[in-house]
């Protein structure tokens, strides 16, 4: 939080934002290439120092890419907090059960539901971290921008749906919860115009999808009737067994 963003200095500094964004992405990708085993935190630290040289220590400017990562890391911290909390409380519960005289196996069984919650949260946290770490690997700026929108949607949506414990414990305030929810809806609106292009990027052909509804040319309704021609039921106007059962039953 000490590196606060001031819009005035940013405007003054950034003559051409696209050049700056390109610059940031280039060195993040380059860092990743040179030292592939760096964790996200290490990349982040190095990139901050690198940028300080470039911008000058007295200047409080933080570039758009950096602001993005500052904010994303706060979300990641919430997932980590939730996961750590669930893991340690499951451990605590098992230890309490043992103190009450239960065997290790009995305590494990008693804690089963808590253990599953802890595992899910841990796995979810891992997925969030991997998503965040993938963003700097995307070299194309336009693609990375849309993937940042997708990331925001992913983490805000997931946090909204797993925040009960964080609210209960007071780690998140209700104001912050409102901000997260707002972020989620803002992300939906940002992604909406790109949604068809995003699914087009998966490059599925009609042959793979085997779906009339998902046809690449969008000609759904006319092809539904062609699809229906495959139905063996349509070989007969009157089904061969109609008279034997339904026809005769109605006449009776």
């Amino acid at each position: 939080s000490k590196w606060s963003f001031t819009s005035g200095s940013l405007t003054e500094f950034v003559k051409d934002e696209s050049i700056q964004v390109w610059y940031h992405s280039t060195y993040l990708v380059e860092l990743r290439r040179i030292v592939p085993k760096l964790t996200f935190y290490e990349i982040f630290t190095i990139s901050y120092d690198f940028e300080s040289d470039w911008v000058g220590d007295s200047d409080c400017v933080v570039a758009p890419t950096k602001i993005f990562f500052f904010q994303v890391l706060d979300y990641l911290e919430a997932f980590e907090h939730n996961s750590r909390r669930l893991i340690l409380s499951a451990l605590d519960y098992i230890q309490q059960q043992k103190k009450l005289g239960r065997s290790a196996e009995e305590a494990w069984n008693e804690a089963g539901v808590l253990l599953c919650h802890a595992s899910k949260a841990h796995t979810q946290t891992f997925m969030v971290r991997i998503f965040i770490e993938t963003i700097p690997k995307i070299e194309d700026i336009a693609v990375r921008n849309v993937m940042e929108d997708i990331l925001w949607l992913y983490i805000s949506y997931e946090l909204v749906h797993s925040a009960v414990g964080l609210l209960e414990e007071g780690f998140l305030s209700s104001i912050q919860m409102g901000i997260i929810r707002k972020k989620m809806f803002a992300s939906l609106a940002k992604i909406r115009p790109n949604s068809v292009a995003l699914v087009d990027s998966f490059d599925f052909t009609d042959r793979e999808l085997r779906s009339v509804l998902g046809r690449k040319d969008g000609k759904v309704y006319e092809n539904l009737l062609e699809w229906a021609s495959n139905s063996p039921l349509n070989e007969h106007d009157v089904l061969p067994f109609h008279e034997k059962y339904l026809g005769s039953a109605m006449r009776e």
């Binding site: 912050q176 939906l188 009339v212 509804l213």
Partner: protein
């Protein structure tokens, strides 16, 4: 092209080809080449009609025809040693309803690569890769799924004949594998409790011939069959297998890790979990596969939501695309986000798998437990997410999502199977929990012990579990930075 889709495509702020190339790891052009080849072969590599209009026997026959045709073309168009090309080629021709070669490639071949010693690999792998035999993997038993330690099938070593005797001692020990075991394959990697010199050493893999190579009849001492229809993959049989004093030579125990000498002496593996590496491979591949299934579902639902118009948001302004409703966006766009989250995780875990296998071959098993634990949790979480996601896509298509014409019911049954196959999800989560509990018992935030501080700092660097060892903040900084 439907003008509504054209209009949507014009709104894009990025180049879908570039994102596609990132998603497919630079393979987009290669995919197009493979597709062009398959389409040029016409009816030979195409189902005779949409699968859903065929009954089970017709589907199995058509997929058998396609599998053979596919095999005869494979080497002309794909690099058969690249799993991503194999899977794509297979999905273009046989779809996702299963084929005899699918589990042969995805499970039996990797299991053999990971479990054969050099001599065994030299003898058997070429036959598998040339498709001289069709194999599958038989671990699960009717009464024992994920709990490997409880498997009942026995392989008892007889030093007088240097053979193992395979037996199915109870009804619950019947092998049950809904992946071509009952009717299509003639070999299987069978997991059985190894007994030698009167002692049980736990589950081990064996290479077992099940059917005659000429007549395809099941061999004496072996009972094979099909349990009946199931949820999804209808062109794979729902097989079962029983052994009655069935003998195999000693060298048919797969001996890359553990060994049994002719005398019956048992030589243990380097690490107790190395035998699970085939399972870990499949789980690592499954995660990315999950993303692909979900991507297919959301592609269908989003395209349809843009050509389907229903109701007015502003009275008199005309009917809008269904995707213009916030509720539809809230239903579908998070599913789209899950596709990327799962895909990126899948790629990471797959790379981690190859790192771990390389380490094991160099004698280092330090990352094995991490991979096993994480893979279990990911398998559970992503299979839930995709099953829920495909269902949301189906609901988003209204009544047409209910129809097989949407492709969504087939996709749904396919992915719903993943909730249980390769490990039931609760069992998977508890496997992950076991290692989490072991780790968290070592957590210590406040200590004066320098050694302990250094040890903690090392643990914090672990990209998977490091955060558990970091001191937590009291409150979130969201919106403060």
């Amino acid at each position: 092209v439907n003008p509504d889709l054209t209009e949507e495509r014009k709104k894009a702020t990025f180049d879908p080809f570039k994102l596609g190339n990132f998603f497919w790891q630079g393979q987009l052009q290669r995919r197009k080449e493979i597709l062009a080849y398959v389409e040029a072969q016409g009816a030979e590599l195409s189902p005779r009609m949409p699968e859903v209009f065929m009954n089970r026997m017709e589907q199995m026959e058509d997929v058998a025809r396609l599998s053979v045709a596919m095999a005869s073309h494979a080497e002309k168009v794909i690099d058969v040693f690249k799993p991503e090309e194999q899977f794509y080629f297979n999905s273009l021709i046989c779809g996702f309803n299963g084929s005899p070669f699918h589990l042969h490639l995805i499970m039996a071949v990797p299991a053999m690569i990971n479990s054969c010693d050099d001599d065994q690999a030299t003898e058997w792998l070429p036959k598998l890769l040339n498709r001289e035999v069709i194999a599958t993997y038989a671990q699960t038993e009717m009464g024992h799924g994920t709990n490997l330690r409880a498997l009942e099938t026995t392989a008892t070593y007889d030093p007088s004949t240097e053979q193992f005797i395979l037996n199915t001692p109870t009804i619950t020990a019947t092998k049950w594998w809904p992946g071509a075991l009952g009717k299509s394959v003639n070999y299987a990697v069978v997991i059985a409790q190894l007994w030698t010199n009167g002692k049980c050493y736990g589950p081990h893999p064996f290479w077992v011939q099940l059917r005659d190579l000429d007549t395809h009849k099941s061999l004496p001492g072996i009972t094979l069959g099909d349990i009946g229809p199931k949820l999804g993959t209808p062109s794979n049989d729902n097989g079962f297998l029983r052994f009655e004093n069935y003998r195999i030579p000693r060298r048919y125990m797969l001996m890359k890790h553990a060994k049994v000498l002719p005398t019956g002496e048992y030589l243990p593996p380097l690490h107790a979990k190395v035998g699970y590496t085939s399972m870990m491979y499949v789980r690592s591949m499954m995660i990315y596969g999950h993303a692909i299934y979900l991507a297919q579902a959301v592609t269908i639902a989003i395209r349809y939501s843009c050509i389907r118009r229903q109701g007015e948001i502003k009275p008199g302004a005309g009917e809008v695309k269904v995707l213009d409703y916030t509720t539809q966006q809230y239903r579908l766009l998070p599913v789209l986000a899950h596709v990327f989250a799962i895909a990126f995780t899948g790629l990471y875990i797959n790379q981690l798998y190859y790192t771990v296998i390389g380490d094991i071959n160099a004698g280092d098993v330090s990352l094995l437990a991490d991979l096993h634990s994480l893979g279990s949790g990911l398998k559970a979480l992503t299979s839930w997410q995709i099953t829920r996601g495909v269902e949301q896509c189906r609901l988003a298509c209204g009544g047409h999502g209910y129809s097989d014409a949407s492709g969504l019911p087939s996709l749904y049954t396919m992915v719903a199977g993943s909730l249980t196959y390769e490990g039931e999800n609760i069992v998977m989560l508890l496997q992950t929990a076991r290692s989490l509990m072991k780790m968290s018992a070592e957590v210590s935030y406040i200590t004066d012990n320098l050694e302990k501080i250094e040890e903690n700092e090392q643990k914090m660097k672990n990209p998977i579990s490091g955060y558990i060892f970091r001191k937590p903040s009291i409150s979130s900084r969201i919106n403060e930075n």
